[in-house]
Amino acid sequence: MKKTILLKAIALMLILSSCSDDDGENLIDFTATFASATVSTTEEETSKEIVLNFSRAASENGTITVSYSGDNAEYGTDFTTSPDGSSGTISVPVASGNTNASFTFNKLTNAIEGTTKSVTFTIDGFSDADWSTGSTSSALVSYTPIAATSGIIDTENGGSNQPNQVYFDFSTGIQTAVRRDLWEIGLYNGTENRVFLNSSLSVSAVELTGVTDLLSVTEASDLPEPMELNALDAMFQPSTVNVSTVAELLVGLPVGYNQYGDLEAGISFTDSPEGTLEGTAFAEISTTAEENYVYLVSLGKEIPTQPAETGSINTTGDLRDIIKVRILSDGNSYTIQYADLNETTAFSEVNVPKDAAHNITAFSLTNGETVSVEPATEEWDINLTGVFTYYGSQGPLVAGLTYSDYVVHNTLGGVGLYQVTIEGDVPTYANFTMADVDESALVYDNRAVVGSGWRDTFGGVVNTDRYYVLKDADGNYYKLNFTAYTSTEGERGHFQFTYERL
């Protein structure tokens, strides 16, 4: 009998020790929640997409029932929805595999000045009994703008190719995403006549000092004077090169490790990272035409379309063309003359008047027209450029550098910003108040204070030892803290930051 007991004991142990705590293997509960508890509309907006976010991708198709109640707003008179909600509820379809669903709110009238007008949407039920409502069960859609005092922003830089640069305005909470490759040069609208390059597209330019005849220059031309420039050799060691022809110069024009330059002599084919007027690759445009020389402009690098592997980026693609440009100004407008490098018979000419509402007017040398890129000067505080390039030093090396995840602030528009590094008795982000603001620390002459230092791509983390304080042109103070540079799926180019008005 003893044998039997042992046998049973072992059988029991076999069973017991075969089990393990496997709860974690199951999917988390499916919940749906409004992406935002309040949605404001401007007078111009006639429709608004209302988004429901899920806790995870839906594993099957279904519907979410949403009910509504209006404050001075009637269905059919003041608003409609799509899908149709005339029955009193809206059936929002959920597709398997999606992580969100949405419906459209169509505004038929506007609010009368001095009265409130809004619609509140509430999650009312699900086609699947296992689904449930998350943290935000209703969303109030206002017919008038609501001022933002804080927010969590998921930027629209667009993923591992970082195709977009994103302008953000703290006081309105509006982000404006613009493709990086819409423009190559930016014409300054202030009193000085200056031309910026699109640093987010690796655009670079070199002056052919003394040459004023645009059509006389081709790839075969000699330079008016030979130049001695710094470069890096194949083993990344500093060396010097002597260039005497256009063809030789073009080798070192595009942004890259073998870009030529000489910072001590003030020669850089890119704008300075600080973004000052004095730091542009173009010399100040003179109102005397003969003082404005021909420039060779590398139109930068294409935005690749193939996504990078998880945790990695693919932001710089094939090199775009090199063209020749000459820019003139009468003080109130710019005249841009440009042609393909080897064109000798005719060039294009476009006149662009200064526009006082914007810092710069973006211009596309590929399409020959101005492009709407920057919001008006007062309507943006920071620009999450994604890619950012300049000729400068990285450790002991001086080269054309390409950064990703870059952030600059609107120094030309009078925005100041400084970094708070948490050490000693410096308050944490959560504890930082108006009383802690150090007015003198605000930087107005260097747009690259944030730069790419807010994240550590080698370590794969956001640097939690720092946050930023910003003062906008209207005198509002904000603190901002970056919380992510990847999506939860690990894809780069999905930044998130949180901010609060002090």
Binding site: D22, I28, G459, V461
Partner: protein
């Protein structure tokens, strides 16, 4: 992996228990009869596969007693103590590979009953030895020396053959159940920490000539934390995730399940053996970094991590037919079909909710299918004492892809096919009773690199009946592996490509073995063996940096290195009454020429290893005490640094295990022991390869998980 998956296995075990209980009464009466019956059963086949090897080569054997001493569940548990073998674990993937005589796993072939095992991207070589379960193993044969003629490419340092247990000796039925609980270092919990093993096996002798066996084994290694805080750890301060790098594990967990069965039957002069094996392994990899995105509604941080799971499944069908053709002439035919698949999952794990949010990858990342056959005819001239001949063929057809070995962006992720047709022959010249010479050659035709010749010349000379000398001279032939041929990773920052034009490595190996036995008294015996070996490998494949057509730096592989290994070892084993003692030492030197440039030619870099074991049996209480020790001396390698070659080294360290094994009753025994008594975790090393970006300069190598204790309960029921 869920419990459901194993439900079948557990129900079967319970069912088996029930049968065992019912049959119990009859056991005693029939015991004596079956003993007689079974003694008459002629065990054929099993020795023939390796018979020639034993004549020509030095063969070390680890039997079930050796396995029981260390309560070994997989091959990695027991090979640690072999003098000429070093086991190198990789904690991130959970793989353990071996090196033998200073040559890595690429030069050692692992066979199961003489048939090479499918590996991640090859056949028999570079095997993860933690995947080889020992539950149905009779013994492990370690054959030393250049075996290319008999076993094909990559059998340069030697061959490890796992021999399956067939049939029962003294009984009709045998049921074996065991459980084993182990600590991992000082970490142990009933479920989520430590190592938990369950085994069950049922064997039945159907008739004198036929036996079957089925069983299963589960090995649940919960990982080694070593200060890391596990999967559900996150450091949140002020609603912000602070990445302190403490999430995850030092060694990732691994859960293995093996099911096996075999059938052995004799038909006249012919023996048929069929073996089936299913293997499943899951290794989760927990990300050290946590993403701390805020929920835009609640404003609260939602920590997530991008975790991964590798799941490997392997199915093996082996068939072996052997017997005599005519008189003394024997034949042996093997057929094998093996598949291996590796599934890769990457998912977003929500740490606070402890569940998966979404899958970012869920696919088959590696798959291979192998058809294999080998056959030979031996003792072809049985009537001649002077001359004899063995002739054979070997055929391998492998199709598959490996997204990891070839890189994510490879065009060659599409299927590749490798095919080998080999013919080989070994002749015997017996000049006298004492002196024999065995020249052998193999002609190999490979679909990738064409025709090659592998050759060897062995000789044995018996100076006395016990004092024997063996010498083997042969080619050291290794075929390039999948990764070396087809790897592809090209983007704006990387340019790493395999080289499909690689040639196999070739060279010369010399192996000398002297052994003698001394009878010291009534029950004492001393066995001594001296070995010396020399490998001279030309065209060794190494990674190189060149430039491609567009003048970009290209990282690829080429036949550029040159390596020489010289070693001596002395092994002694003594059996004296109740004592078993062994003591061995090996001294090994390697000289490497990197990139075929004379400037980097190094002197021999020497290392010293020592192995010892002690066993003592107390018959009165049915107890065996044993302890074993291995000193791994400092090893040095030449590394190609930016400033030219430098010497990196791994410091010395010592393994020691001890165990007590006792039979409580005839059917029930307990093993209690300790592994890694010197508590080895990390060993200082300056030869750890830094990452592709040179950012991770680690100065130690992870070898063990600290001093661990184990308890194994084995219930063994024989009945008729």
């Amino acid at each position: 992996m869920s419990l459901n998956k194993y439900k079948g296995f557990l129900i079967t075990s319970l069912f088996i228990c029930a049968i065992g209980h019912a049959q119990e009464k009859n056991t005693m009466e029939k015991d004596s009869m079956s003993m007689q019956n079974l003694n008459e059963v002629v065990v054929t086949g099993e020795s023939q596969v390796m018979s020639l090897s034993k004549k020509l080569f030095a063969v070390g054997v680890l039997d079930q007693r050796d396995i029981a001493k260390v309560a070994g569940n997989n091959l990695a548990d027991i090979l640690n103590y072999n003098l000429n073998i070093t086991v190198t674990p990789d904690p991130s993937t959970g793989r353990s590979t071996i090196s033998m005589f200073g040559l890595d796993g690429q030069y050692v072939k692992v066979l199961i009953d003489g048939i090479p095992m499918a590996s991640d991207n090859g056949m028999g070589n570079n095997i993860d030895i933690t995947q080889i379960n020992l539950e149905d193993v009779e013994r492990i044969e370690i054959v030393e020396g250049s075996m290319g003629v008999l076993y094909g490419d990559n059998a340069v340092a030697g061959v490890i053959n796992i021999v399956t247990k067939r049939g029962l000796d003294h009984t009709k039925w045998q049921l074996q159940l065991s459980v084993q609980e182990e600590t991992v270092g000082d970490e142990y919990e009933w479920f989520d920490k430590g190592r938990h093993i369950q085994n069950a096996k049922l064997s039945h002798q159907l008739s004198e000539k036929t036996s079957i066996s089925i069983g299963g084994s589960r090995n649940d290694f919960a990982g080694f934390h070593n200060g890391y805080q596990g999967r559900n750890y996150v450091n949140i301060q002020d609603n912000t995730v602070v990445n302190d790098g403490l999430r995850g594990m030092e060694w990732n967990p691994k859960e293995q399940f093996t099911a096996f069965g075999n059938l052995n039957t004799a038909l006249g002069k012919h023996n048929i053996f069929y073996k089936f094996q299913y293997y499943d392994e899951a290794v989760p990899v927990y990300n050290r970094n946590v993403t701390g995105r805020l929920n835009s509604d609640t404003g609260m941080v939602e920590p997530t991590a991008l975790d991964e799971t590798f799941d490997t499944q392997r199915v093996m069908n082996n068939l072996n037919i052997s017997g005599s053709l005519k008189g003394q002439t024997i034949y042996n035919l093997s057929f094998s079909q093996q598949t291996q698949k590796r599934y890769y999952q990457q998912y977003v794990y929500n740490i606070l909710q402890r569940g998966i949010e979404s899958y970012t990858a869920d696919n088959l990342s590696q798959s291979s299918e192998i058809w294999y056959s080998k056959g030979f005819v031996g003792n072809m001239v049985p009537k001649s004492d002077f001359f004899n001949l063995q002739l054979g063929y070997e055929f391998t057809h492998q199709t598959g892809f490996d997204a990891i070995a070839t890189g994510e962006y490879s065009n060659d992720v599409v299927e590749n096919t490798l095919e080998n047709y080999d013919f080989f022959g070994v002749a015997d010249f017996n000049f006298s009773d004492r002196l024999s010479l065995f020249p052998g050659a193999r002609y190999t035709n490979n679909s990738q690199f064409g025709n090659k010749l592998i050759w060897s010349l062995s000789s044995t000379y018996d100076i006395t009946d016990t004092f024997k000398v063996k010498a083997i001279l042969g080619s050291a032939f290794r075929a390039p592996n999948f990764e070396e041929l087809f790897f592809y990773f090209v983007d704006s920052n990387h340019n790493v490509q395999g080289n499909p034009d690689l040639n196999p490595e070739d060279g010369i190996s010399i192996f000398l073995n002297l052994e003698d036995k001394f009878r010291l008294g009534e029950s004492s015996m001393l066995k001594t063996a001296f070995k010396s070996y020399y490998f001279d490998i030309k065209d060794k494949i190494a990674s190189v940096i060149t430039t491609d057509e567009e003048d970009r730096n290209l990282f690829t592989f080429a036949n550029v290195d040159y390596s020489k290994i010289l070693g001596f070892s002395l092994e002694n084993s003594l059996i004296m009454d109740r004592w078993q003692l062994s003591l061995g030492a090996t001294y090994l030197g390697e000289s490497t020429t990197i990139d075929a440039s004379l400037a980097s030619n190094s002197n021999y870099l020497w290392s010293f290893n020592l192995q010892s074991s002690v066993g003592y049996t107390i018959p009165s209480i049915n107890t065996t005490l044993s302890a074993q020790l291995k000193y791994n001396g400092r090893t040095q390698v030449v590394l190609n640094d930016t400033d030219g070659p430098v010497i990196g080294q791994t410091d010395d360290f010592t393994w020691m295990d001890a165990s007590v094994r006792t039979n409580i009753t005839k059917n029930f025994n307990i093993t209690l022991g300790a592994r890694n008594i010197f508590d080895i975790v990390r060993v200082d090393a300056s030869d750890v390869p830094s990452g592709a970006h040179g950012s991770s300069v680690s100065s130690s190598r992870l070898f063990g998980n600290g001093r661990s204790y184990f308890l194994k309960l084995l219930y063994n029921l024989n009945f008729n």
